[in-house]
């Protein structure tokens, strides 16, 4: 229950609020709740990739639903985090195709290199390794998700390079369409 008392700074910026209002406008006026998942993504993305109770309460207030309606959704979907996580979360796909193409060895390698176990952030909070289920990139195995994008056809060398790039701040976690 320790996670319940971890403090999170909540900042619903005007820019974020514009985006939230845009998302809510995608649904009929009496169906604001439908915007919950897209709104939670935006809010989580702007809050170090996790959702505290206080932040979920804030989302409930914005969407005008009960807090429990947010909690039960957050706990159902695997992309919402209810505790602080590593900034660079290496989410390895471990389902059949990736497994047959050696993802387990790569996960062991990454954990050893970072000195962590699966699901434990590094002490500086920079990295975390997680095993997830099929990401829909079976033909490009082994692969992982890092932020909004996929890193495919992974090798130990590519993982070394990714870790270096993350440390150097060269990895952008949020995908931008040009224009």
């Amino acid at each position: 229950m320790e996670r319940l008392i971890i403090h999170q700074d909540i900042n619903i910026s005007s820019e974020l609020m514009v985006r939230i209002d845009e998302l809510i406008s995608h649904y009929p006026a009496d169906k604001r709740k439908s915007a919950l998942l897209p709104v939670l993504h935006e809010v989580q993305d702007t809050h170090d990739n996790w959702l505290s109770i206080e932040l979920m309460d804030k989302v409930a207030e914005i969407i005008q639903i009960k807090p429990i309606e947010v909690y039960e959704v957050v706990s159902f979907y695997s992309m919402f985090n209810q505790r602080p996580i590593g900034k660079y979360m290496f989410e390895f796909c471990q389902t059949s195709c990736c497994a047959t193409r050696g993802v387990e060895d790569l996960m062991d390698y990454t954990c050893d290199k970072l000195g962590v176990k699966i699901g434990e952030p590094t002490s500086d909070g920079l990295f975390e390794v997680r095993g997830v289920e099929c990401l829909g990139a079976c033909g490009y195995a082994p692969m992982m998700q890092l932020g909004d994008e996929y890193k495919e056809h992974l090798t130990k060398e590519k993982i070394d390079q990714l870790i270096d790039d993350c440390k150097a701040g060269k990895i952008n976690l949020h995908y931008q369409t040009n224009g």
Binding site: P38, Y77, T95, Q176
Partner: protein, 455 residues
């Protein structure tokens, strides 16, 4: 080269953008449908095409459309299922990432046919960058006047929005997807009522796969009858196949239905043969939930006929000796693959993804995973194989949605076709301590240790 109707323009530079897509003839089906056809005429063309839904179940799309309630006067919705999550399947992602306007065009033409004025594309949360690509494509379509009020001056209004999920395989089930679109947990609904009567916000709703909707423009431009000439008599048209596993050229291929499995795996046009020339051991032809086929049933059916990439040939022999084309998630395994380990992997997936509503699935998938893990790690018992059979049998058909069946079938098929491997694991735990145990010593080399008399 086989006929291409979805990916024929995929190599045109810039086809991702609105300008190039339009210059190449894009959005012609919207003009044709809105200006020269009635909604019901579009439905008829789709019926005539005999297109089977490309999400996995293979239900005829035109028939699904004809069930939608147009009498009650309630608003109708088209929802595109882009929650592609079936292991082995990555075709819709390819289409949406590289030719997003084809889906947007299909959404408009299909919404017109259903007389829907508010439609959604529900995309899985992990495809976050594809979500952003689609959002951009939809915005471009609005800017160019293909969406919004009074489209092309015809009086037809339509809004299309992209909705993003957040990581739940179950949301690919259409009623769970609708729940999720309503901002709730993805718990499937009891049917009936079917979404065609009571779907999104209790309004009449059609849920179609990305690939199905993307075929609509071609059908409208060229007629359903022309579409039905492609492929085989019972499997019309083309299908996207996402090929993965131990093949030289994994990727997404558009095939004309009816080519042989042998050609698909071995020709240079498609998979290019097996990597390292190792022998083919097994095939999952249509996503993780369909029965796995052993080597002797891949290229030929039990009757000795060529196995074809078609709905009817892939399912020839039922579950005893056949499988399903399903979602087109085509996973090829060579002799280094451990079937027990792979079955455990699938069971873990379904356990993780069970929504927990129905006890046979919630408890059964976890039980399957544990027993399979026990066998795979050398702690299996002789009676475990029968126990697995018993558990899967009690899940199948006893749940609200097909996830239970999807979890049960791979286990049943693995035992049906590869029982000796399970026995080997139970009896020779010292030989399977390394997780790559078949890399050094494929099962064929140790098969003699399991006496056939004991099976």
């Amino acid at each position: 080269m086989g006929k291409k109707i979805l990916l024929d323009k995929i190599n045109v530079p810039g086809i991702k953008t609105y300008e190039v897509y339009r210059r190449e003839g894009g959005y012609a089906s919207v003009e044709k449908a809105l200006k020269t056809m009635t909604p019901d005429e579009v439905v008829t063309e789709v019926k005539n095409s005999q297109l089977k839904g490309r999400g996995g179940a293979g239900f005829p799309m035109g028939m699904k459309w004809s069930f939608i309630d147009k009498k009650s006067g309630n608003p109708r919705h088209l929802v595109c299922n882009a929650d592609e999550s079936e292991p082995g399947t990555f075709k819709d992602r390819y289409l949406m990432e590289y030719i997003p306007h084809l889906l947007v065009e299909g959404m408009i033409t299909a919404s017109f046919a259903l007389e829907a004025h508010l439609s959604y594309i529900y995309i899985r949360g992990e495809y976050m960058w594809v979500y952003k690509i689609l959002e951009k494509a939809v915005k471009e379509a609005y800017d160019a006047g293909w969406l919004g009020k009074n489209i092309l001056g015809t009086g037809y209004d339509l809004d299309v929005h992209v909705h993003v999920g957040a990581g739940a395989y179950i949301c690919g089930e259409e009623t769970a997807l609708i729940e999720s679109l309503e901002g709730k947990r993805g718990n499937p609904r009891i049917k009936p009522p079917f979404p065609a009567i009571s779907g999104l916000w209790a309004n009449p709703t059609v849920v179609n796969n990305v690939e199905s909707i993307a075929a609509v423009p071609w059908i409208v431009n060229n007629s359903g009858a022309e579409y039905a000439k492609i492929g085989t008599e019972k499997s019309t048209g083309t299908k996207l196949i996402s090929a993965s596993g131990h093949i030289k050229k994994p990727g997404v291929y558009e095939i004309e239905l009816g080519i042989t499995v042998y050609d698909f795996i071995n020709s240079e046009e498609y998979c290019g043969g097996m990597i390292d020339e190792r022998p083919l051991k097994a095939l999952v032809p249509g996503g993780s939930s369909v029965p796995i086929l052993p080597a002797h049933l891949i290229y030929k059916t039990a009757n000795g006929e060529d196995r074809l990439m078609s709905y009817e040939s892939m399912s020839d022999g039922g579950f005893a000796t056949g499988s399903m084309i399903g979602s087109g998630g085509f996973i090829v395994y060579n002799d280094t693959t451990c079937i027990v380990r792979n079955t455990w992997n699938f069971a873990r997936f379904y356990h993780h993804e069970s929504c927990g509503q129905c006890s046979p699935c919630r408890e059964g998938t976890g039980w399957l995973e544990k027993v399979l893990h026990r066998i795979e790690t050398g702690h299996g018992r002789e009676e475990d194989i029968d126990l697995l059979w018993d558990i899967q049998r009690k899940i199948e058909g006893n749940t609200i949605c097909p996830l239970g069946d999807a979890a049960a079938w791979p286990v049943a098929a693995a035992i049906r076709h590869f029982r000796e491997e399970f026995e080997y694991h139970v009896r020779f735990p010292e030989k399977i301590t390394n997780r790559d145990h078949y890399v050094a010593e494929p099962f064929e080399k140790v098969k003699h240790l399991v006496s056939p008399l004991s099976v």
